[in-house]
């Protein structure tokens, strides 16, 4: 007895006598929902709703990321008396998803963005913080060498949150620039 793509036994061999589907048609691919990180809380999600925060995965959200890189232009602009300071030969770019709460910039394990290689970065240098409106702010934590943003040579005031926008460049230490990226994506488009 012929079987249709949906698995019905059919007395007719052209079209299924249960559901009408063409016998011999390519079966509809069974969609196995892959695990995806929730764009809101980062929980691994299978299916539509995040079990961590209840986020609907089909709803687009604005995702923020911080791209951490050694920046030659920033290095060159930093006036330093320390002749032994050498721009790193091996440059690694790191992408840090900004998910929730505070993301600390500093040196050591307590910092989410650990810039241990950069001698100009304070242990507790600055913090990226999600604001209730869905955006992110930058606050200098009273660092030794200060924090500058974009092309402004003046360091930002310590303890005062500064709203960030897509494309803002945060300069810290001797050579580190953290570029902020924000964009509307769906969960499934996460890399």
């Amino acid at each position: 007895m012929p079987t249709c793509p949906d698995g019905h036994d059919s007395a007719t061999d052209d079209f299924c006598d249960v559901c009408g589907r063409q016998i011999g048609a390519v079966p509809v691919p069974v969609v196995v929902t892959a695990e995806k990180p929730c764009p809101v809380c980062g929980e691994s999600v299978v299916g539509r709703f995040c079990e961590g925060c209840g986020h609907d995965m089909t709803v687009a959200v604005t995702a923020w990321t911080a791209v951490v890189a050694a920046d030659r232009a920033h290095f060159d602009s930093v006036s330093s008396t320390d002749e032994e300071l050498v721009f790193p030969a091996v440059r690694r770019e790191r992408v840090v998803p900004l998910v929730d709460g505070d993301v600390h910039i500093g040196r050591g394990a307590s910092a989410e963005i650990d810039l241990a290689g950069d001698p100009g970065v304070s242990h507790r240098h600055a913090v990226l913080r999600a604001d209730p409106a869905g955006g992110w702010t930058l606050t200098d934590s009273g660092s030794t060498n200060g924090t500058t943003v974009n092309d402004d040579p003046e360091t930002i005031a310590a303890g005062v949150p500064m709203p960030l926008r897509d494309g803002d460049r945060i300069h810290v230490g001797a050579w580190t620039t953290i570029t902020i990226r924000s964009g509307t994506i769906r969960a499934g488009e996460h890399a």
Partner: protein
């Protein structure tokens, strides 16, 4: 006989669409087997008192009945019934008799002796015919019913009950002579019993009409043919209509005959062709999928005489999905045409001039567009056509009752779709 089934449709549907429409044409050709199919015929003549006024009616009815008897082929079981407020057999007494030279002569002599008097109770006439047909289950069973008046001497509920009993038992062609009968009433009988209804305004036309009807009945070769419609799981049949040669809604006549199958009666078939409009609602499949939305079979007993397939293909291509099948569009228009004529004539009877003008104007436009010249001609006897393209009409001040009734009666006659 062979049954050629063809399906005309635009099978392409936009994503998510559910409704599938198709015109199914059935052409029965070839001759019956050497031995003629067994047949049974009952001729029912109204013998109520009004048949004497004018006297020409009864005279013409007798002549017509005799002509019909002459048109019966040898061996056909037959009877003649006289109908008043009761029903009685004129010839023979009791059961049907086989047609022969002798029985035809005796029957015609009995018909000539008929007199009129009494009322009209159509239900009791049909009831007697149903009794007479008993025992002739394997034969083509056909009746002719002639009346000149309203069904005044029995309750409408009685007629409805009798029609329910007779449905599927025999086919009945109905004729109204003169203009004192009720179109809706006879249409109810002919629709229930899968026959035709027509007006014979002038009694002189009865003989030719009876001869033609009997010849047509004798030309049938296969009795009790059903249109079997299979639809997929979860589907809903919106309607099944015969759309040519006349409009007959079969939707309510469905008898479920197995999983996802239903049978619609079509009566007996000779060499002829009929068109059906099938409308099915299915659960939409994915774009690119092909689904069988309906399988239409013509069946007699367990034998499948012909088959056609109604398909659905979902597509993103709007050029494909927005195309309208010429056949579906044509018959959708013919269905509307029949509807607006009946509504327009109803409004006209009720004196609602605006509504009647609007409905009949629409009818004129639809008849002109679809090339239904017969209906256009009948309409022009009831309205003055100012512009058939826009459907601008004026109700005629003086319309003969016969013309008004003819238009109403023949409103369900459809024109065939123009090919090519």
């Amino acid at each position: 006989m062979t049954f050629q089934v063809d399906v005309y449709q635009n099978e392409y549907l936009p994503a998510g669409a559910r409704e599938v429409n198709a015109i199914v044409t059935v052409a029965a050709t070839g001759v019956a087997t050497a031995a003629p199919t067994a047949a049974a015929e009952v001729i029912i003549i109204d013998c109520s008192g009004s048949m004497e006024y004018p006297r020409a009616k009864l005279v013409a009815a007798k002549q017509a009945t005799c002509a019909a008897i002459d048109a019966l082929r040898d061996g056909v079981a037959f009877a003649v019934v006289a109908g008043t407020d009761t029903a009685s057999t004129v010839y023979p007494f009791g059961a049907l008799v086989a047609a022969s030279q002798r029985t035809r002569r005796e029957a015609k002599a009995a018909v000539q002796r008929l007199t009129s008097g009494g009322g009209t109770a159509i239900g009791s006439w049909l009831s007697l015919a149903n009794t007479l047909f008993r025992g002739h289950d394997n034969a083509l069973r056909h009746a002719i019913l002639l009346t000149d008046g309203r069904n005044e001497h029995e309750k409408p509920a009685h007629l409805d009950r009798v029609l329910a009993e007779c449905e599927g038992r025999f086919v009945c062609d109905c004729r109204g002579v003169g203009t004192d009968w009720e179109v809706a009433e006879l249409r109810k009988v002919s629709t229930a019993l899968l026959g035709t209804v027509d007006i014979v305004a002038d009694p002189a036309g009865l003989t030719a009409d009876f001869t033609a009807m009997t010849a047509d009945a004798m030309g049938k070769a296969v009795a009790d043919v059903h249109l079997r419609l299979w639809t997929p799981q979860g589907a809903k049949v919106r309607f099944v209509k015969q759309v040519a040669p006349s409009m007959v809604d079969l939707t309510g006549k469905r008898a479920d005959t197995g999983p996802r199958n239903g049978d619609y009666p079509t009566g007996a078939w000779g060499t002829e062709s009929r068109d059906y409009h099938v409308c099915v609602e299915v659960n939409p499949a994915a774009v690119g999928d092909v689904m069988l939305a309906g399988r239409v079979s013509l069946v007699a007993g367990d034998e499948v005489l012909g088959q056609g397939m109604v398909k659905a293909v979902w597509t993103d291509d709007e050029v494909l999905s927005t195309r309208i099948s010429k056949e579906v569009a044509h018959y959708t228009g013919q269905a509307e045409l029949a509807g607006v004529i009946q509504e327009g004539m109803q409004a006209r009877r009720e004196g609602d001039v605006d509504r009647a003008t609007a409905k009949l104007g629409r009818a004129v436009k639809l008849a002109a567009e679809s090339g239904n010249t017969d209906t256009a001609k009948l309409l022009s006897k009831v309205v003055d056509v100012v512009d058939p393209v826009t459907g601008t009409v004026r109700l005629k001040a003086k319309v003969s009752e016969a013309d008004a009734m003819t238009l109403d009666t023949r409103s369900t006659k459809t024109s065939r779709v123009r090919r090519g």
